[in-house]
């Protein structure tokens, strides 16, 4: 029974130290890895507002994307939740895209808010979407906002549709973020910068929206929806207007065939 023979005391101590130190070291590695993953999601040009640092629990910047950032094609979309063309674009193009090419890892979709000044509730809808994105519910809320656009754009009752799109516990966290965010939200001013419709005032969540608007103005976004495709790190010219999924898919296929 050689395998039961006790080893030398020195080896036994070394093995015991290794067994104890291993999990401790792994746990210590995991902690920074987790925090760096969170910061990687938040690093996409979304500054964390000052209030978020003091809020409890601390929430990161909103993750308004679908798929893996490592996908060969990145599709950045600038939309306004109250714009009919954006609804059409989401329902007929983005949804099948997300279900197909995003699910298969070919495309990474990144949403940017670009609420237009002519739309009374689009800024507020963007606030709800950002709050939901901070608790990992962006996909559900974006779908609910577009599915019910015609209903909430008449009354402004966005909360009703956001609440039914996610579990109650998550909605509670979203609602907490929306405290103090009453009144119309920020919109892209035609002359540049951000404007608030009458009765509107800044809210901590607006930092995420204004950073998106600033990015859109650099492109520049002239209308919504505007989309920009980046293939293997090379940005292609931005385009505006809704495009059908069949045509966009063919374009993606021609890129992926390279």
């Amino acid at each position: 029974m050689v395998w039961l023979r006790p080893a030398s005391p020195l080896l036994t101590v070394a093995a015991a130290v290794a067994l104890l130190a291993g999990p401790i070291a792994l746990r210590a590695q995991d902690a920074p890895a987790a925090s760096s993953t969170a910061s990687a999601h938040t690093s996409a040009s979304h500054p964390t507002p000052a209030h978020a640092a003091s809020a409890k629990p601390v929430l990161g910047a909103p993750v308004k994307s679908y798929g893996s950032p490592g996908a060969p094609i990145k599709l950045e979309v600038f939309t306004d939740y109250q714009c009919p063309s954006c609804r059409n674009f989401f329902e007929t193009t983005l949804r099948p895209l997300i279900n197909d090419y995003v699910a298969s890892g070919k495309v990474y979709v990144l949403h940017h808010d670009y609420p237009l000044s002519g739309h009374q509730y689009s800024g507020m809808a963007a606030r709800w979407a950002n709050a939901a994105a901070r608790v990992g519910q962006f996909g559900n809320v974006e779908g609910a906002l577009y599915d019910n656009q015609m209903a909430w754009e008449m009354t402004g009752d966005i909360k009703k549709f956001v609440s039914t799109s996610m579990p109650a516990a998550d909605f509670k966290r979203v609602e907490q973020q929306m405290e103090g965010c009453d009144g119309p939200g920020p919109t892209a001013a035609p002359a540049g910068g951000v404007a608030y419709p009458p009765g509107g005032h800044p809210c901590p969540l607006d930092a995420f929206i204004t950073s998106d608007i600033a990015l859109g103005m650099k492109i520049p976004v002239e209308a919504t929806p505007t989309y920009r495709i980046t293939y293997k790190g090379q940005p292609l010219p931005a385009a505006s207007g809704a495009v059908s999924w069949a045509i966009l898919r063919q374009f993606f296929d021609s890129l992926l065939a390279q």
Binding site: S85, Q234, S240, G241, I247, D253, S254, L255, Q258
Partner: protein, 208 residues
């Protein structure tokens, strides 16, 4: 290739001015024979100007996207990108829009070469004018329907389908094309009505 593109762009931008100056000269010339000679030169110039519009448009649609080199596959990618612009007009079903997007640049290339060659100029300029009218109707329709889209013209920087694009197409492209149509038909009629004048100019007349 980029030098050729720049030359074509310059011609599309300023060619109409040359033709307008030439038109003034035509009205200033009194002698019929001299006038015919000026018109003949202008028709050749007009063919180059209007042809360059179509060549520039074809080049703009077929040129490789940033990060790609010239190749058949890069042209296919550019045409697939152009298909998204055609589709954004929401006038054609996706299948037809796709076919149209892959056909149009080659048609523009053919028409551009035909116009520059000045062969059968009455017909080439008429076809060019009708094509330009078709583009302008599409842009006007998109604007009327409230679509905020790129015109997808392929000439110069991206421009929104709206009054500015219509004004540009009307002044810089359609006006020269119409002038060439009128000039070509006038010249053809002059040749038929006054064979004696034609006999004086022994050189073969390429412009119809």
């Amino acid at each position: 290739m980029s030098a050729l593109g720049s030359l074509l762009l310059w011609l599309t931008d300023h060619g109409y001015q040359v033709l307008l100056v030439g038109l003034v000269v035509v009205f200033c010339v009194r002698q019929p024979i001299s006038r015919r000679k000026v018109v003949r030169v202008l028709l050749v110039l007009g063919g180059i100007v209007v042809g360059s519009v179509f060549l520039a448009a074809a080049y703009g649609k077929m040129k490789p996207l940033p990060g790609f080199a010239w190749s058949w596959s890069s042209v296919r990618i550019s045409l697939a990108m152009f298909a998204t612009q055609v589709d954004s007009y929401q006038m054609l079903p996706p299948g037809v829009a796709n076919t149209f997007a892959h056909f149009l640049p080659y048609f523009e290339l053919f028409l551009g070469v035909w116009l520059v060659s000045c062969i059968g100029q009455r017909f080439s300029s008429l076809l060019a004018s009708l094509t330009l009218c078709g583009f302008m109707i599409a842009i006007a329709t998109a604007y009327y329907r409230g679509l905020k889209i790129d015109c997808g013209c392929g000439i110069g920087p991206a421009e929104e389908a709206g009054p500015a694009a219509l004004a540009r197409d009307g002044l810089k492209f359609l006006l020269p094309a119409l002038l060439v149509v009128i000039g070509a038909f006038w010249f053809h009629r002059q040749r038929q009505c006054a064979p004696a004048d034609g006999a004086t100019s022994a050189a073969p007349i390429r412009a119809d």
